[in-house]
Symmetry: C2
Subunit: 533 residues, 2 copies
């Protein structure tokens, strides 16, 4: 303003108003330009949207002159973020994330986007979303606001315990115990519940559970998804620089979830196809001794059961072997059982909790990770669980749960959903059936293409042996096939190397995001790649 007025006086006469506006603006534009070139600019500042920049430029033009000089004066360079932040900010070239991103940007949909990318890389269950939808439509409103609305709004809006509401912990404990009883047990409950009003169901479930595996609600810490659950537990069990032994192939996300912020090292311990990728205790022993030699302290073994990515279950003998191993080495066992309710086939899932219930191991070194993203098809709800007998782990992880709390409305909704025993039992039964059908269809489809899968009994995926399709029997050959599957066939499967599988050519294929009717198309796309070999 200070400068515009005198300049208007200079540009008097015809068109003076126009020139008087334009000239100072132009002058200021070049002044800005000059100053910007001669002050340290931040390479990390994103380009503002055009409307933003125009606006702020206009408003700042006449006020920022003195400020420019001032702020330029002492600046020692562009702003830098932390080295750990910068490492995270860099793009991922890991095929697991590259594939997920490609699919998210252009997802296949039979009707709206038939040429899009087919997502076999994401363990998300869409097979039974209709059941969840129907429940939500019927129960949404009632589940949250009772007649005593005063009480309800306090329970929703105000601060709640960071590690989860006790009501949800109670019903979650029953639910996890319930899953472990298997399908036949659910049918029993189905017959019973017609005698009970809804409000009594949770007590009823707690009562029923006492005879079998019991999960104590006060030993549960609830978090916003299983991702923070495994991070928080890891933080509590190991210091930066310590290591976990991980039978491989393992879930690629662990490299991110466990390592990023905790500074813990993950040491893959290879399992072999000759043994259907079952865990080998002697291999754990060797890995433990090797770590010891190079001065790395191993603090735990972490396993997934049902295994991700293979889909096999850990049998009772191996579980006991693992417990013996961690006892002897005086370390911990983390069992990620997030697919416990997504099992099918004849093999019976056995939770490590069941072994602890009947065998006299030191319970304080055994910890279970669970969540509702897979078994209840609600990853969007972000519900994770740490279950531990170790009171120090519980105390520390309850405190850390403040960084990963579940919102109260979502918790209330879940209390209501999980208390609806009839819905839950029906859901689990139907979901298991659909999962089994889909798995059979998908595995058969691959078989017709000459691709065999590892034997599996759980999870939302199969573990396919495509080693015959790779050019060179190496990680390079595997990634070349992955690239052709993604970029030629537009099919995103997860290559085994991202799961630290020691044998090249294995791929994890998640089938639960598909419709049955999609399978022929997916197989046809894969066939294209095979034929172009």
């Amino acid at each position: 303003m200070r400068l515009i007025v005198p300049l208007q006086a200079v540009a008097q006469g015809r068109g003076g108003l126009v020139l008087g506006s334009l000239i100072p603006c132009a002058l200021f534009y070049f002044l800005q330009f000059y100053l910007r070139r001669h002050r340290p600019s931040s390479s990390s500042s994103p380009p503002p949207s055009s409307s933003d920049s125009n606006l702020s430029e206009l408003t700042s033009m006449h006020r920022s002159f003195s400020r420019n000089l001032l702020s330029t004066r002492g600046s020692a360079g562009p702003s830098c973020i932390s080295s750990r932040g910068a490492a995270l900010a860099r793009g991922d070239d890991n095929p697991y994330y590259v594939g997920l991103k490609r699919c998210a940007e252009d997802p296949y949909d039979a009707s709206s986007n038939p040429d899009g990318f087919v997502q076999l890389g994401l363990a998300e269950n869409r097979l039974s979303l209709d059941l969840i939808r129907d429940w939500l439509v019927s129960n949404w409103k009632d589940s949250l606001l009772s007649e005593e609305q005063e009480l309800s709004v306090r329970g929703l809006a105000t601060y709640q315990p960071h590690d989860g509401l006790m009501e949800l912990k109670m019903i979650m404990s029953s639910f996890i115990g319930w899953l472990n009883e298997g399908y036949s047990f659910l049918l029993e409950i189905n017959c019973f519940i017609i005698f009970f009003i809804k409000q009594a169901v949770s007590e009823f479930m707690g009562h029923i559970m006492q005879g079998s595996i019991s999960f104590n609600p006060s030993q549960l810490v609830l978090t916003a998804g299983a991702t923070p659950a495994v991070e928080i537990l890891s933080f509590c069990l190991a210091d930066a620089g310590n290591a976990f032994l991980v039978p491989s192939p393992y879930y690629p996300g662990w490299d991110r979830d466990i390592k990023w912020r905790t500074g813990i090292e993950l040491i893959p311990v290879p399992c072999r196809s000759t043994n259907n990728f079952n865990i080998s205790i002697p291999a754990l022993e060797r890995a433990f001794n090797q770590s010891k030699k190079r001065g790395v302290k191993v603090r735990a073994v972490i396993v997934s059961n049902p295994n991700n990515p293979v889909g096999n279950l850990i049998d009772q003998e191996t579980l006991i072997g693992l417990l013996d191993f961690v006892t002897e080495k005086n370390i911990h066992l983390i069992s990620d059982e997030i697919f416990a309710g997504s099992t099918y086939g004849n093999d019976q899932f056995v939770s490590v909790a069941e072994i602890l219930d009947v065998e006299n191991f030191d319970k304080s070194r055994v910890h279970i990770i669970y969540g509702l993203s897979k078994d209840l098809s609600i990853p969007g709800f972000r519900i994770g669980v740490i279950y531990s007998h170790n009171e120090n782990v519980l105390a520390a992880s309850s405190k850390l749960a403040r960084f990963s709390s579940i919102s109260a409305p979502t918790q209330r909704l879940l209390v209501s959903m999980l208390s609806d025993a009839r819905f839950i039992s029906e859901y689990l039964a139907i979901n298991r059936e659909r999962l089994q059908n889909m798995q059979a269809l998908f595995v058969d489809g691959l078989k017709e293409l000459g691709i065999k899968c590892a034997s599996s009994s759980g999870g939302l995926y199969c573990w396919a042996d495509m080693s015959k399709l790779i050019g060179s029997y190496s990680e390079k050959g595997e990634l070349q096939l992955w690239d052709r599957l993604l970029n030629v066939a537009k099919v995103n499967a997860t290559p085994g190397s991202t799961c630290h599988c020691i044998e090249p050519g294995w791929f994890r294929c998640c089938f639960s995001t598909l419709e049955k009717s999609d399978i022929p198309l997916v197989m046809e796309r894969i066939r294209t790649v095979i034929q172009s070999n």
Copy 2:
């Protein structure tokens, strides 16, 4: 079983069945007892509930014999957790947490628990919960399930972007911009919205915003509360061992939220009562130089505006001074503006974003923390925001948001609530009025007791000078007064030493959890302590 059968044969004859059952049980009991005493027990394992232990004992008795021997064999001692986990597991003796815990265990309620502890330690706003309740009752169901239920359930149940839904980011951006325009602007909107249908309101708000402070939705990262927001941002800006300068007194939770997992040091930079605790740039300069001398790298200045615990606002001149300071030192500025909408009085709140909009500072070094816990009275919803122009910070913190995601149902609900411009504007206006009234009543009450408060214009608390009431003018004297307030008067106020206040005798008193009618009782309780001096 193997042992029970032969023992039954030994105990043949009258009562043989009874003895045949009892004797082996007794023998096994003593065997268990013997083995337990002679194997390393874990001191960290919590005592199982009595029903649990009885049941598991009974079921395991006849199966665990061989296992006991095996599992005892190689155990090298009780299981240990990480040193950082153990540090967290230890109880807090910080008066801030001790007071909060006491109140939570036995909370005052005028009708149901009149002898309970009065909570002045928690910045939670209950003054306008009735408005939130009414909105939820009317809009709960509609807000989440549209007529196209297929779409809705996918948007609720399946995986969503970890750093928040774009819809919520858009409406949050408008909301934050809106807050910064102040009350008069809200009235304008109030007049406008009657012409717009609900669905159009968000666009409308975005449109309106362009003329004033604009918050770009793509520069927002949403997290499960402001607690993880500040932790994630800190992790991205500083490495372990680096430090932040923090004008003190400051929010006691930062010592937990910023330090626990990131390893960042917080350096208090004292503000003085003579200046109503306003920020002093020369003091920052001195602290910066001192840190440099002892080899500690300062990476940022973090401030709260409105200040917590004082309640004063940072004026424009000081904000510019802060921006000059961080520019000159080539460090970052974090402005926690979580109480931006909880202001009252005549002073106008100025966001640092407003300065950035009109002054030509390097935006990549300025970051804002926000959340809905305070201004919308919904801490139970866990909604936090990182707002940054720095694309590396955005990239890294979006990735870290996977550990602190907000559930999709809660996000959908919020999109609906924040889009209801009429509700939001009414809520904010009424809430501000109630806040102001409550603040005036509370401060007057203290004044009658001879206790003066610092001048304030925002927040849910006042900053009370009780230095005349302390025995010795020291931290010890302050904590003695805190102890008497808590244990004699059953009033939990936060002592200034937990906020790193350099002058003893100041207390933060949150008044927004009270009813107006509670104030005489609270003052009476404080008077008891004064009179017993």
